[in-house]
């Protein structure tokens, strides 16, 4: 398993070097400056344990000499009328300008009259694909040891369009929308990602035997894109088969691309396979090459401020962000350091079964770089 990771990393590094000369234009609308110039990135520390783990990330990046300058933004205390939520217009502009961001856990304040924070980010930045690389962490034993897959989920339409209404009393209808444009977009990104990271297979997950027109359209778009990448094996798997195969033998899958609802369920299932949301990295891709990496776990208000939080999810998400920026060298070093620290088992936070504090864990990672 570790050798597979090393092989993948080596291949992706090669691809990164070879493909940087001709990148796909729609995903790289920025000119990559040389390493001496700093790349600006937006940082949303978030609530609860957010600030502590964001501090860990900053420390690790400093130790690894990553050429990133952080622009920190916090959730406001009142509703900004321009965004109709607690996120300020300035923070959204910052992400649009920098094209890269890292987001910690945010707790949506209860109440009416404003949009949820995640929904605001998604709509304003047009984040259409959610990418979750799931791989078993060597040294942290779960019931599954050979997981190495990536789930790519369409994030804007599908069953989550939010279009429901009551027809008559006791009868409710909910609309599921699939468009050619959105399906093509996410399929393009899935194949591009597979190629850029040296992945060999892309599987489209669907239920087209029952929902023939909607998932049928999604599949048609995936097939169209698959033809442009003949070196990548493309297959289609019905979702119930996929669930069964995932829990029996997750090594069968490589890259999974799916519409919104199936993506939600399958990506959480895969997170469960490797140990939970506290260890899973995630990255949202938007139009114009925007990448917002985020930690998908909650803000854990009960351990906030006590130096007990596990920064792994945010660190690995930051690594995903670095890979998007093609800083593969730094990404590999940080990823190796994190995996080695967890594998050694000497410094582990409470949720992994250890007793270390956040700061001790971070320091152990820095030592390993």
């Amino acid at each position: 398993m570790a050798s597979q990771l090393v092989r993948r990393l080596a291949r992706s590094r090669l691809d990164g070097i070879l493909s940087s000369s001709s990148p796909n234009p729609s995903f790289f609308n920025r000119s990559f400056s040389s390493e001496s110039n700093l790349i600006r990135a937006t940082l949303f520390p978030g609530d609860g344990i957010g600030p502590e783990i964001a501090e860990s990330v900053k420390q690790v990046f400093r130790t690894a000499d990553v050429p990133i300058e952080w622009e920190e933004h916090y959730v406001g205390t009142e509703i900004d009328p321009r965004t109709q939520s607690f996120l300020t217009w300035e923070s959204l502009e910052s992400v649009r300008r920098n094209k890269v961001g890292l987001k910690g856990p945010m707790a949506t304040p209860i109440g009416k009259g404003h949009r949820s924070l995640n929904l605001t980010l998604r709509k304003e930045l047009n984040l259409y694909a959610n990418v979750r690389p799931c791989y078993s962490l060597p040294g942290y034993k779960t019931k599954y040891d050979d997981v190495n897959l990536v789930t790519i989920r369409e994030n804007t339409e599908g069953e989550y369009s939010g279009l429901e209404h009551q027809v008559v009393r006791g009868v409710v209808e909910s609309l599921k929308i699939i468009t050619r444009q959105a399906s093509l977009r996410v399929a393009e990104y899935a194949f591009f990602y597979a190629k850029a990271h040296g992945r060999e297979r892309v599987s489209a997950i669907h239920k087209a035997n029952i929902m023939q027109k909607t998932d049928g359209l999604f599949l048609k778009c995936c097939r169209e894109v698959a033809e442009k990448y003949p070196e990548i094996v493309y297959e289609e798997v019905v979702i119930d088969n996929c669930c069964m195969m995932l829990v029996k033998n997750p090594a069968l899958f490589d890259v999974l691309v799916m519409p919104n609802l199936y993506g939600d369920i399958i990506s959480d299932l895969c997170a469960g396979l490797i140990g939970g949301l506290g260890l899973t990295p995630s990255c949202n891709i938007g139009e114009g090459g925007v990448a917002l990496a985020e930690a998908v776990h909650g803000s854990a208000p009960d351990i906030a401020g006590k130096n007990l939080a596990n920064p792994t999810a945010l660190l690995l998400s930051a690594v995903t962000m670095l890979r998007h920026l093609e800083l593969h060298d730094k990404a590999d070093r940080i990823q190796d350091a994190v995996l080695k620290t967890i594998a050694e088992g000497k410094y582990r936070t409470g949720d992994l079964g250890g007793k270390s504090k956040t700061t001790e864990f971070t320091k152990a990672i820095c030592d390993h770089i």
């Binding site: 019931k143 009551q166 035997n209 929902m211 023939q212 939600d264």
Partner: protein
């Protein structure tokens, strides 16, 4: 080990004479007359596994006789004589019907359920003695609404490139599936019912489903009721499945949850299940009933008959022949626990016929 497998295990380990029962089942005069059951072999490996059931029923001299009807998954609708037969016999055993993907033909599995209004689909996922899996202590029953929800089949193209699909949830259907789930738990001495939903996003639709479940739950105070969001549920299923007992879900989530639960307990080749409505019942392989295997499996005749055999045991109990059901179940479980005759999906290399012969020889 769950408390229910212990007495069965004791029986298996004790001397292989006639199965002992503590208190006998007293039938009504005439209950022993042979009952007709509609049999639909289906496509792919369907005929192979239904043939297995026929053989074993003969060997046991069970008081059922089968009326066979050929139906294939690419037909436009189920032939009316089949529907009439099921309406007359009230019980049917069926192999899988293969639905062409994206081919413009609705799934016959779904049509059959809608036509006969079989609104509850039940899949029982449990660890089998002798079959090693990553998870232990699994004993989950997934009860899934079978007629509406995402499988309404109401799709249309709004403009070229934009397709809409309607998900319909009604109070009527949600209530009756919730009632069935709680009644099932009550009659089978189950302690917990978990409703699986996504009401944080689909507030009205899944909200309606949850409301119905809560109403019914208040009438069964001795059964513990809880709710769980479907993505969290999938995560819990793969990490801590022992916390689940009975799960009640709308149509699509039920499909995913039952397949996940079947996968963690040993695979869809061994999990029994059935569809039941107010008047009729159809028994088939538990999860993934539309999966009819591939040509390879058909050629080698190596399909796993265990799921359909256990489903036919469920059918025998439904027909009130408990002794035959127990004998069949004991024999199948003994074959699995011995481990000598297992088909490919369980890690062995026997053919269907070998497994059938082993079960027949283990019948007492």
């Amino acid at each position: 080990m769950t408390p229910r497998t212990l007495p069965i295990l004791k029986r298996i380990l004790s001397s292989p004479t006639t199965a002992t029962r503590s208190v006998t089942y007293m039938p009504r005069p005439g209950d022993g007359n042979p009952r007709p059951v509609t049999l639909i072999p289906g496509d792919g490996v369907g005929p192979l596994v239904t043939g297995a059931v026929e053989q074993i029923m003969e060997a046991m001299h069970a008081p059922v006789y089968f009326q066979k009807y050929e139906v294939h998954g690419d037909a436009k609708s189920v032939p009316p004589e089949v529907i009439d037969s099921i309406k007359k016999n009230k019980v049917c055993l069926k192999g899988g019907l293969k639905t062409p993907v994206g081919g413009g033909v609705s799934s016959l599995n779904v049509l059959l359920r809608k036509e006969l209004d079989l609104y509850a689909s039940l899949v029982h996922c449990f660890n089998l003695q002798g079959l090693p899996t990553r998870h232990q202590d699994v004993d989950i029953v997934v009860i899934r609404e079978n007629t509406e929800g995402e499988y309404s089949g109401l799709e249309h193209e709004v403009v070229p490139g934009v397709v809409e699909s309607l998900k319909v949830i009604t109070k009527f259907c949600s209530e009756r599936i919730a009632k069935y789930a709680f009644e099932y738990s009550y009659l089978n001495n189950r302690k917990k019912v978990t409703a699986v939903h996504k009401a944080n996003i689909m507030k009205l639709a899944d909200g309606q489903f949850l409301e119905s479940c809560r109403e019914v739950a208040s009438k069964y105070p001795s059964i513990q009721y809880s709710e769980m969001i479907v993505d969290n549920c999938s995560m819990q299923l793969v990490s801590k499945p022992e916390q689940f007992d009975v799960m009640v879900t709308p149509n699509l989530y039920g499909n995913l949850v039952s397949n996940t639960a079947a996968g963690i307990a040993g695979g869809t080749g061994v999990m029994p299940g059935g569809n039941v409505g107010a008047d009729h019942a159809i028994f088939e392989q538990g999860a993934s009933a539309g999966n009819v295997g591939n040509e390879n499996l058909l050629e080698q005749k190596a399909a796993n008959p265990v799921a359909l055999l256990l489903s036919s045991a469920m059918m025998l109990r439904h027909l009130q022949f408990p002794s035959f059901a127990d004998r069949l179940e004991t024999a199948v479980k003994r074959v699995i626990s011995e481990g000598k005759y297992r088909t490919k999906d369980l890690g062995g290399d026997s053919t269907t016929q070998e497994v059938v012969d082993a079960v027949i020889s283990n019948l007492n």
